[in-house]
């Protein structure tokens, strides 16, 4: 019995075999937006350090944030932040023991609809205030 050949450990089913559901996708996206925000904090640090370092450095940072690539990154960053925040509020609802019934689907959809809407509103507001 001691020479039983070693068998690979049983593995749990992988993501690929599940049918995609709203709740599952939102759960994954919560983690992805969290990671994006993690590295995106570098942008906030850059902005603050540039502002503290003087007008020349600040203009360099602003030139990047104002370029199409910078705007694209900031748009994504805004959405990730709002989406992660709404996802976090969903977690708070779950923490109270609510939101585990059929309303899960609606909650998950509301997170996405809410994050996209709020992102558009914020950018519109920034454009209006800028002019």
């Amino acid at each position: 019995m001691t020479d039983t050949p070693a068998r690979p450990r049983p593995t749990s089913p992988h993501l690929t075999i599940y049918r995609m559901t709203w709740t599952m996708v939102m759960s994954i996206v919560h983690r992805i937006t969290g990671s994006a925000l993690y590295f995106g904090t570098l942008l906030l640090v850059w902005w603050l350090v540039a502002a503290a370092s003087g007008a020349k450095y600040f203009d360099t940072a602003n030139a990047f944030f104002g370029s199409w690539f910078g705007q694209f990154i900031l748009l994504g960053y805004t959405w990730a932040l709002i989406h992660h925040m709404l996802g976090g509020i969903r977690h708070f609802i779950w923490d109270t023991g609510r939101g585990y019934g059929p309303e899960r689907q609606a909650l998950a959809r509301m997170t996405l609809v809410g994050s996209v809407s709020i992102t558009i509103l914020l950018w519109a507001l920034a454009l209006v205030l800028r002019s």
Binding site: S35, Y38, T41, L42, V45, A52, M85
Partner: protein, 124 residues
């Protein structure tokens, strides 16, 4: 007497009981408030001159809220990334190294931001 709290104290992958969960929720709640404030400040500063930005950021209330936001965010993101590392990195050595880098990164982000805010608010 074994209370529910004493039973979970010191348990979990990192032997920290529910401390991680609690701090994650505490900073999440703080972030909702502080980041709404921060977003509000940033939205009003889009396209403004360096002088205007400095004038706004150096207001005492703005500076304090910014520093609070940075601290809360740094703690929250360190905890979040820690979970991701513990979930996906199975080699003990690599896990420990990444957990260290994670802590250094969060502290670096926090310290640089706070230093910059203080420089601005004390007028460099």
């Amino acid at each position: 007497m074994r209370t529910p709290l004493s039973r979970i104290r010191g348990l979990g992958a990192a032997h920290h009981g529910t401390e991680h969960f609690w701090l994650q929720r505490l900073t999440a709640a703080a972030n909702v408030f502080l980041l709404v404030v921060l977003i509000g400040i940033v939205v009003t500063l889009v396209g403004r001159s360096h002088a205007t930005v400095l004038a706004t950021l150096s207001k005492p209330l703005v500076s304090v809220l910014l520093v609070a936001a940075v601290i809360s965010v740094a703690i929250h993101m360190r905890l979040g990334m820690q979970i991701i590392i513990e979930d996906y990195v199975h080699s003990e050595f690599r896990k420990v190294v990444l957990l260290m880098l994670n802590t250094f990164f969060a502290w670096g982000i926090g310290l640089c931001s706070i230093y910059a805010v203080l420089m601005i608010s004390f007028g460099t």
